[in-house]
């Protein structure tokens, strides 16, 4: 928290009230779309949005309908499976690779690391066409494999874990080897436990990004039973123009889990987002 000296936070009296007013106004503006959607999802029947802003009759009909009609239950399961698999895989592959880059000596280490890191420069779009073809040739369209395999490793994760492994003092490795720990032991007993906050942030990050993925699932699934929540929402969007309440309710359902996760893991997310941003 910044500035607690009297001098610099000399916000008193009417200036304080003014600031609160400003904050409230902005908060209202920011929350507005979310609020509209939540209220809209609780409205009965087919009442359109431009009715009152305050809900008079609260009913969960729209939500129930959206759930069934959009097969959102199935979509949730799909998203959960896909995200879980990707998250765990990214954690494992990143930890292993980062360990190798930090604690193992082998020729070409720096060059190889640079190559790995260079993949960060390649935008997702450039790989999609070919990857889709690859999925097609493996017969993995419309399957969990197709949704997950290309993302089982990421240079971003390797970079993050490497940065935190670098902060482990060399002496610790030396002491561990005097105690008889080999590499795997050291990884398990020392490196990973010491890096827990960063690993937590990476987990959160991986989970969020895979949950929110849009373009790839669109390209790689055509059957609705493989819809993730994002493509499920997309399907609703194109189908439900005549029943706006369904779409609104569907959006609220899809958005809810992430909001919950985020409120629960706020601190880790901040750490994750700022890992690369703030120097030092």
């Amino acid at each position: 928290m910044a500035t607690e000296t009297d001098a610099l936070s000399r916000i008193r009296g009417w200036r304080k009230a003014g600031r609160y007013a400003l904050l409230v106004t902005l908060a209202v503006i920011v929350l507005f779309p979310i609020y509209v959607m939540v209220v809209g999802s609780l409205k009965p029947g087919n009442k359109v949005l431009n009715d009152r802003l305050l809900p008079t009759n609260i009913t969960f009909d729209a939500i129930r309908h959206a759930w069934q009609h959009g097969h959102l239950g199935r979509a949730m399961v799909n998203s959960a499976i896909v995200s879980a698999v990707i998250t765990v895989a990214q954690l494992v592959t990143s930890i292993l690779a980062a360990y190798a880059f930090v604690f193992l000596k082998f020729p070409g280490r720096s060059i190889l690391f640079a190559v790995f890191l260079a993949t960060l420069l390649v935008p997702l779009e450039a790989t999609l066409t070919v990857n889709r073809r690859t999925m097609q040739s493996f017969g993995w369209l419309n399957s969990y494999k197709g949704l997950t395999v290309p993302f089982l490793a990421t240079a971003f994760g390797i970079f993050m874990v490497r940065q935190v492994f670098l902060t482990i003092p060399k002496e610790m490795r030396e002491a561990a080897s005097m105690d008889g720990l080999g590499h795997i032991g050291f990884l398990r007993e020392v490196a990973v436990p010491l890096s827990r906050p960063t690993l937590g942030a990476l987990t959160l990050f991986a989970f969020l990004t895979s949950w929110n993925q849009y373009l790839w699932p669109v390209l790689v699934t055509t059957e609705s039973r493989y819809n993730t929540v994002q493509t499920g929402l997309r399907a609703l969007r194109f189908a439900a123009l005549s029943e706006p309440n369904l779409l609104i309710a569907g959006t609220v359902i899809v958005a809810l889990p992430i909001f919950v996760v985020l409120i629960a893991f706020q601190r880790q997310l901040v750490r994750g987002l700022t890992a690369g941003a703030v120097k030092g």
Partner: protein, 298 residues
């Protein structure tokens, strides 16, 4: 090289290979290989008679680049970035600075301002789809005029702005969080020193805050710009690239519904490879140009 040092150089290699293999294989097969393959794929097209693939050579790239769909999409994308990035930064910084003071209950405001980071592209876009909808949305009733007929997303003049609004809103949480973290790492006594020297709030902001958060601002700029250039979901859900291709960004050009790229992998590859180069140049420019003004502390 003595036998001992040769052995120690290679000693870890076996284990290293094992540990690097999983990520190496994935990254190699799904990032590096596709990029390289796409470059070659981009030489191919489907002929007008529907026969694919027909290899036309590197000229395809030039043709695609020069085509007016590509140029238009490039311009749209640049406009989109020019709208969303500066406004997004200003708003993010503004909110972060506002919420940086010690007030009771400030935590709630911070949570609210970061909340948009919880929305996925799909969720945010659908939300705004509703707000903008001329028949259903509230904005139409409040603003009237073009918002009602034919609607902000449907009118060629406002469509891109409307899409930008939804993007700016969706990115607000990210920018806010990142800038807030940056603000907290500014040493308090720099502000105090400036205060004792007589600097008012604005002077402190320009002389202390802005320079000290410049790495964070660079980071945010790079991320927001990349997002703008890679935007797909927003377009897909809000405007489908229209009206009159006014919101067709480069990525949408490559992957959107009903576009010539949909059936033609070769063309798609061409566009995406060109996109890759655009992004590369952009990244280099940003780093070269902005890094000079970024100050990294002691």
């Amino acid at each position: 090289m003595t036998k001992r040092s040769a052995r120690s150089r290679w000693r870890d290699s076996g284990l290293a290979l094992l540990m690097l293999a999983p990520s190496g294989v994935i990254l190699g097969m799904f990032v590096i290989y596709p990029l390289v393959k796409a470059v070659f794929l981009g030489r191919q097209r489907c002929s007008p008679t529907g026969k694919c693939p027909v290899t036309g050579g590197w000229q395809q790239y030039v043709d695609a680049f020069r085509s007016h769909e590509f140029q238009d999409a490039l311009i749209v994308t640049i406009k989109y970035a020019l709208i969303t990035v500066p406004i997004g930064l200003v708003l993010g910084v503004g909110l972060a600075v506002l919420a940086d003071k010690y007030l009771r209950g400030i935590g709630i405001f911070r949570t609210i301002f970061s909340s948009t980071v919880a929305t996925s592209v799909a969720v945010a876009s659908v939300m705004w789809f509703f707000l903008f909808n001329p028949n259903l949305g509230l904005l139409a009733d409040w603003i009237g005029g073009v918002a009602k007929t034919p609607g902000l997303l449907q009118s060629p003049g406002t469509a891109l702005w409307a899409v930008s609004a939804s993007t700016i809103w969706a990115n607000l949480g990210f920018t806010f969080i990142v800038v807030t973290a940056g603000l907290q790492s500014v040493p308090k006594d720099l502000y105090e020193s400036a205060y004792v020297d007589g600097a008012n709030g604005f002077t402190r902001f320009t002389n202390v805050t802005l320079p000290m958060i410049s790495p964070v601002l660079l980071f945010a700029t790079v991320v927001l710009t990349a997002r703008a250039f890679e935007s797909f979901g927003e377009i897909d859900l809000l405007t489908l690239g229209g009206p009159k291709a006014k919101t067709t960004t480069l990525t949408y050009l490559a992957f959107g519904k009903g576009l010539p790229t949909a059936a033609d992998d070769g063309l798609r590859a061409t566009v995406t490879v060109l996109l890759f180069f655009v992004l590369l140049i952009l990244a280099l420019l940003q780093f070269r140009g902005l890094e000079k003004r970024v100050h990294y502390g002691n």
